[in-house]
């Protein structure tokens, strides 16, 4: 979709190269994170795609079309652009901001209006409330949502995002990242995303392109970058907490343990046998209508083999969805003071359980891979 071929950028003759012979191929529908310290050339690289910065030599192709041959205005109108601090036009309403590019493209009013509503709904902002507000009346997170909506206005196949969530507080940032991933799942845009935050890169990226001094150091999936850093620079960038970062990548559904279930009327001994059979330490207890009532621990069933299950029933407590990352599951376990957490896709059903041991194992497995490979 987007291809860099031997691209070089020098700001002036004497300077060292801002981008040094870059070759990069970003596939359609992928989020490519450009990651690196300040001055590594990541922003320059991104801005060459919409010709805000002109490359010194080399070629950039979008959909096999050399962008040198495309008029810059036309090119930019066909590429969504989101920047840090949003760059929303303060003298225009939210609706007018979103309408900017469609208007330039000559859409009729009805179509633009419908599109504004659609996008605001997509970004979870009520059009009735927000359409006629000015940017200053919105919170930072809401403004950034509008920034994304504005970039999506004309449904461009390519989006460029320059540290879009950089100026937000960590909680809002996390929320917006999740929301954006959810939107991207529906839309499947090709996205070039500049960041200096390794955690953001790991969370958001299908691929991460790590740059240093204008050169591409490593271009790979987040898991590969974490497990096989190309050199010391990448290893240092990832930092010492590789295991914890890995937890950001692994979803609960990847490691959850399925649990057997049993009717509440059954005897404890039966539950005990089921658990033994399947080698698990917990069992889900359901009523006649298969509604989950709670769970029973192996040790409780062992001690009270003759008691009814209802006497040793424990509450399920808070559950997480299968798509939750291990890191979030872990922090929830800490906050609840529990050693295990149940995974539930929808209310009333339990998909399985993750214990602290499972977490350690999931992360350690990858650590061992790292050892054998390096």
């Amino acid at each position: 979709m987007i291809r860099f071929e031997n691209v070089v950028k020098k700001y002036n003759e004497l300077d060292k190269m801002a981008v040094d012979n870059l070759n990069l191929h970003i596939k359609k529908g992928e989020i490519c994170m450009l990651l690196g310290p300040s001055g590594c050339g990541k922003t320059t690289t991104m801005k060459m795609i919409n010709k805000l910065i002109k490359s010194t030599s080399g070629n950039i192709y979008i959909d096999d079309k050399n962008i040198d041959k495309v008029d810059p205005i036309k090119l930019r109108l066909s590429i969504g652009y989101v920047i840090q601090g949003t760059g929303l036009f303060p003298h225009m309403t939210i609706g007018e901001n979103i309408a900017m590019v469609p208007k330039e493209l000559g859409w009729d009013k009805a179509r633009i209006d419908a599109r504004i509503d659609e996008l605001l709904e997509l970004m979870e902002l009520d059009p009735k409330v927000y359409k006629d507000k000015r940017p200053k009346d919105l919170s930072g997170g809401q403004r950034q949502r509008v920034g994304v909506a504005r970039a999506l206005a004309a449904d461009p196949p390519v989006m460029l995002m320059d540290e879009p969530f950089g100026a937000l507080d960590p909680i809002t940032r996390g929320k917006l990242q999740d929301e954006f991933l959810r939107v991207q799942e529906k839309l499947g845009k090709t996205i070039v995303f500049v960041t200096h935050d390794i955690d953001e890169a790991i969370k958001m990226g299908d691929k991460i392109a790590i740059m240093k001094d204008g050169k591409l150091v490593q271009y790979a999936s987040p898991a590969e970058i974490l497990s096989q850093p190309a050199d010391d620079f990448v290893a240092e960038l990832i930092g010492g907490n590789g295991a914890i970062k890995m937890m950001n990548l692994i979803k609960c559904k990847d490691v959850l343990r399925k649990l057997p279930s049993i009717d509440i009327e059954s005897e404890s001994i039966l539950a005990l046998n089921l658990m033994k059979e399947q080698g698990v330490r917990n069992i889900i207890v359901k009523d006649k209508n298969h509604k989950v009532l709670g769970y029973v621990r192996y040790k409780d069933a062992f001690k009270n083999q003759n008691a009814p299950l209802a006497n040793i029933l424990n509450e399920i407590g808070e559950t997480v969805s299968p798509g939750t990352t291990l890191k979030e599951a872990l922090s929830l376990m800490f906050s609840m003071g529990r050693k295990a957490i149940f995974i539930s896709k929808e209310k009333g059903s339990i998909d399985g359980i993750i214990t602290m041991d499972d977490l350690l194992k999931a992360v350690n497995d990858d650590d061992q891979d790292e050892d054998t490979l390096s």
């Binding site: 801005k47 919409n50 805000l52 205005i73 036309k74 090119l75 930019r76 109108l77 066909s78 590429i79 652009y81 920047i83 840090q84 601090g85 949003t86 760059g87 929303l88 036009f89 303060p90 003298h91 900017m100 590019v101 330039e104 000015r134 200053k136 504005r150 970039a151 460029l160």
Partner: protein, 206 residues
């Protein structure tokens, strides 16, 4: 005859001079605003040039108005034309300066976003920069117009007519009532115009 009776008895002459004063200032301001706004916009593209132009406008404003009008006599003679020219020169600084400052102080991320979205330079100027700078530009126009009305009174010295003439006549004849009426009328126009422009400015403030 007290001042109010005097005012009523001379109402026709006063009204005529007020209108003439107003006309001169309005004509001068129209030219000044067009010129100043164009210059102000043009110099936003060139910092070096901006410095030079702003300095020249600054110097123009430091010349005493009486001297500026006098200098124009050998070039343009006397009457309304040199008066208007003098007012235009005199009121350039606040206009150029505010247009320039208003535009260059816009948050660069807004301009960057506009460029990245695919707006041409002309569209960025008219849809983004000028509307955003409008309150500041308007403040400049206000200062310039208020200055123009006041200095317009001095233009009577080179035969432009207007309320200044009434004041000068009052001085020559030792007629306090004429001086006071002339001054009050000038102040009155100034206040009304200033408030009017202030309302427009406020309407577009963000």
């Amino acid at each position: 005859m007290n001042i109010i009776e005097f005012f009523i008895s001379r109402w026709d002459a006063i009204l005529q001079m007020t209108i003439s004063h107003f006309t001169i200032v309005i004509l001068a301001m129209i030219i000044s605003i067009i010129l100043g706004v164009i210059i102000g916009i043009l110099i936003t593209n060139n910092k070096q040039l901006a410095k030079v132009i702003l300095n020249v406008a600054n110097i123009l404003m430091t010349i005493p108005s009486l001297a500026l009008f006098s200098v124009l006599i050998p070039i343009m003679g006397i009457g309304k034309a040199p008066a208007i020219a003098g007012l235009v020169l005199y009121t350039q600084l606040p206009i150029i300066r505010n247009v320039y400052t208003g535009i260059i102080t816009i948050d660069p991320s807004i301009i960057e976003a506009a460029r990245g979205m695919g707006l041409s330079n002309t569209k960025i100027m008219f849809k983004i920069k000028i509307p955003l700078a409008f309150p500041v530009i308007m403040a400049g126009l206000r200062t310039a117009t208020v200055m123009g009305i006041g200095i317009g009174a001095i233009a009577a010295y080179i035969g432009a007519g207007g309320l200044g003439e009434y004041i000068f006549q009052g001085i020559n004849r030792g007629n306090d009532r004429m001086i006071i009426i002339g001054a009050v009328m000038v102040s009155l126009i100034t206040i009304i115009v200033d408030k009017g422009l202030g309302l427009i400015q406020k309407k577009y403030e963000l």
